[in-house]
Amino acid sequence: MYLLPENISSFGGEIDSLIGFISAIAAVVLFLAETALLGIVIFFRRKPGRSAPYIKGMGWRQMRWVLLPVAAVVVLDLLIDLKTHKAWNAVMQSLPSKGMRVRITGSQYRWSFAYPGADGLLGTADDIVRVNDFAVPVDSNVIFDLAAADMIHSFWVPSLRFKQDAVPGRIITRWFKAIKTGTYGIACAELCGVGHSDMKATLRVESREDFLRDLQSGVNSGGAEVRAPAGGAENRGAELLNQKGCTACHTLDGSKLVGPSYKGIFGRKTKLADGREIVVDAAYLRRSIREPEVDQVAGFPAGLMPKLPLSDEEIHEVVEYLETLR
């Protein structure tokens, strides 16, 4: 199974052993069928003076040469069905009763992860929300409610052997247990728009102590890669842009994605959707982060940018950083 990425989930072994099982059957069946085909074609190629026999494949005596191999296929199919059922149950239909609860929400083009705050409840004001950064404790059940804010997304973690679509209007509850610490990729596997290629998050499996410290500090210790230009890597504003998923839509190098690029944004003459022309300043940037739908830049889709839970201080840091991107 060297082609598969390393498995780090408790149920991933079931999937891997199913893949091995089907592969063994497939290899034997494929080898026999291809060999038979090739052998027959070479052996019975046209030769002068020889004629073909008149065999119509009627009745059991002739059809058994087809029906017996087919019977073997049926038996193998049923064996695969049984093993499939077992693996499917282990992943999709055996929700543990105890475990840490998380809410995972997919939106264009980021994953956000909400942990219960001090009250121990999800969906309350003190929830701890992380964007594109999913820290979990090792060897613990993680039970999550999967939701989608706009389009269909698909929560895909190759190392967990897990994938589930997030569908607008539905909350889908699933679980996993990671059994090895480390950093792994989370993708969106369902086409969700023009920024689909950049929808990417990080799963960090940590020891229990690290996880608790991490969650309380409220600071991401690792996770999303900082793609700031040289010299600005230490900047907290740059770090925030990455953590909050801003750079999925806004580039730092001047190229156009879903949103306007940050490069040279400060002081730029910009045409708004309502036809007015303005010069981008700190006030405009602050307002646009708090209320993205107001005074949108012309030529970009409306309503895409989410309102992010940034503190005043964080907004200040972001704007300060944007000012440096000449």
């Binding site: 019975f44 073909a52 119509k56 087809v66 199919d77 499939t84 693996a87 269909i152 209007g169």
Partner: protein, 557 residues
């Protein structure tokens, strides 16, 4: 029957002759192949060399990437496979093989083609409207395909509206064609031609058409609801207003999966005609194949949700659809094994059409076996939306559509043009295409097992998918695609060369039994005069005690 000499337009443009209509479908389909392949060339180049200036195109933006992937799928299924395999060969062969002078409703047949042509124009036009072509994937899942319910924008949505309109018109065209197929086979068979004496390909056309007619209704309903959501602001699939996006997926795949067999069955039939004539043996287990195919046709209506295992359906539904999906491999195992048994002790001639059929059998086995993987719901948790799926369905569709379709073109070209295709060029075409085809998709199987997900324009942000091995696989796949494209040049040269310089074919160059080979090549306008009398089945090859090793269906002794 007295026929006045028709003027040019009546004869070649607005013709009601099934052969001309078949040719029109064929040529339109072949032109669309060029478009579809070019799109795949552009996005495969982008995947192998992300962000670079692509030869013959330029830079590909993520938006264009989504448009090209969407339109590649749409064109290859609906504007290449369907028109060539079902409409073109159905029109060309059905009346000739059942011994009829034309289709049951010639005028309806003409309307069918012209509706199809309008749909083609609408689809191609969608590339050039403001806002660009449709970019929501060929499966068009809402809310994305409905613009995310962020308000209606006529000009931005025009590409998508044209796309839906084109698909709907195309289905209307095939509905008309399908009615014609069924009535012609049902009512216009030559005297003496019993159902179980029909060439297998006719059975396949009938079962494929029935599958299409049974399944297309829900899709048309689904498409209309989507169009209304996009244009006048209904909310059929909008969860915020009480709709459900998963409803569309059910309607789409209820059609989408039988559609696979709508393409697959005619190809299997075409292959059977070539296989028997080239191995000089009766088809092994004719009735078993017919019954197996009927079973498969029925089963294909209850497997659709295997496309949705992880799409949010109740997990308890998965086992049912997993079992039916894996079961559907059984009738096809019967058919493929019967084909191999037909070859057993045959007197096999390696003409180009036969080589393509053998290439189809060898490569399709890989597609079938990997289908068993994907029929397993638990494997889908891992493989859904990865390149494993992409590689699998190309390993079924390319042998089926491209290899069988090409085999059929080589086999029936003499019948409809009066001249043989060149065998040397044909063999170059065959080996180049079939060998390098593996080079495209085996690397994609490997990347798929590695977890690489689909519909990503650029993997540069993904270190786990940018390993040297995976990058290398993408380059191998793209290079192989270009090689396969180059190997189509001998085919194109062959067609034009043979059209004017080819060896004259005579009525029956392959010494076949079916009725189309009993008339001149190309067949005269009312096909048969008088209508032939049929005495036996289509596969009476190497009958003991006869001087010739074939026995045409209309020969009394």
């Amino acid at each position: 029957m007295e026929h006045s000499k028709p003027i040019f337009f009546r004869k070649y443009v607005f013709s009601t002759d099934h052969k001309v209509i078949g040719m029109q479908y064929m040529l339109t389909g072949l032109c669309m192949v060029v478009v579809g392949v070019f799109l795949s060339y552009v996005f495969r180049m982008q995947l192998a060399y992300p962000g670079s200036d692509l030869p013959l195109f330029g830079k590909l933006s993520p938006q264009q990437y989504n448009e090209f992937v969407t339109l590649h799928g749409t064109i290859m299924i609906f504007w290449v496979a369907m028109p060539i395999l079902l409409a073109a060969f159905g029109n060309l062969l059905i009346p000739l093989m059942v011994g009829a002078k034309d289709m049951a409703f010639p005028a309806l047949n003409m309307i069918s083609y012209w509706t199809f042509l309008v749909s083609t124009v609408a689809l191609l036009a969608s590339f050039f409207v403001p806002g660009g072509a449709f970019d929501g994937g060929w499966t068009a899942y809402p809310p994305l395909s409905a613009g995310g319910y962020r308000g209606i924008s006529f000009w931005n949505g025009l590409g998508g509206d044209l796309w839906i309109l084109a698909v709907a018109l195309e289905f209307a065209a095939f509905l008309m064609g399908g009615v014609n197929f069924l009535v012609t086979v049902g009512n216009m068979r030559a005297p003496g031609l019993k159902w179980f004496d029909l060439p297998l390909v006719i059975w396949m056309f009938v079962i494929a058409t029935l599958d299409f007619l049974f399944s297309v209704g829900p899709l048309i309903a689904g498409a209309i609801m989507l169009l209304l959501d996009r244009t006048i602001g209904t909310n059929f699939y909008n969860p915020a207003k009480g709709g459900d996006p998963v409803l569309f997926q059910h309607l789409f795949w209820f059609f989408g999966h039988p559609e696979v067999y709508v393409l697959f069955l005619p190809s299997l039939g075409l292959a059977a005609e070539i296989l028997t004539a080239s191995s000089r043996k009766p088809l092994f287990g004719y009735r078993a194949i017919v019954y197996a195919t009927m079973t498969a046709g029925a089963l294909s209506l209850v497997v659709w949700a295997h496309h949705q295992f992880i799409a949010g359906i109740d997990p308890r539904m998965a086992s049912f659809f997993s079992v039916t999906t894996i079961l559907i491999s059984i009738p096809f195992a019967v058919t493929v094994f019967c084909y191999i048994a037909t070859l057993w002790r045959g007197n096999i001639r390696f003409s180009t059409p036969m080589l393509f059929v053998l290439g189809f059998l060898a490569e399709f086995l890989i597609g079938g076996v990997t289908g068993i993987y994907l029929g397993s719901s638990a494997f889908d948790i891992y493989a859904h939306d990865t390149y494993f799926v992409v590689a699998h369905f190309h390993y079924t569709l390319i042998p089926v559509v491209v290899f069988c379709g090409t085999a059929a073109i080589y086999f029936w070209f003499p019948k409809f043009t009066g001249r043989m295709l060149n065998e040397t060029l044909g063999k170059i075409h065959f080996f180049g295409t079939v060998l390098f085809f593996n080079g495209i998709f085996i690397p994609l199987f490997i990347n798929g097992i590695g977890g690489e997900h689909r519909r990503i324009a650029d993997y540069s942000a993904w270190p786990e998918f940018m390993t040297e091995a995976m990058k290398h696989n993408r380059i191998v796949a793209t290079t192989s695609l270009i090689v396969v494209m180059l190997f189509q040049i001998p085919f194109i040269i062959n067609i034009f060369l043979s059209l004017f310089r080819g060896k004259p074919a005579g009525p029956n160059p392959w010494k076949s039994n079916t009725l189309e080979w009993t008339v001149a090549s190309p067949p005269p306008h009312p096909n048969f005069s008088p209508v032939p009398m049929v005495y036996r089945g289509p596969y009476e090859y190497s009958v003991p005690g006869r001087k010739e090793d074939f026995w045409p269906q209309n020969e009394k002794e």
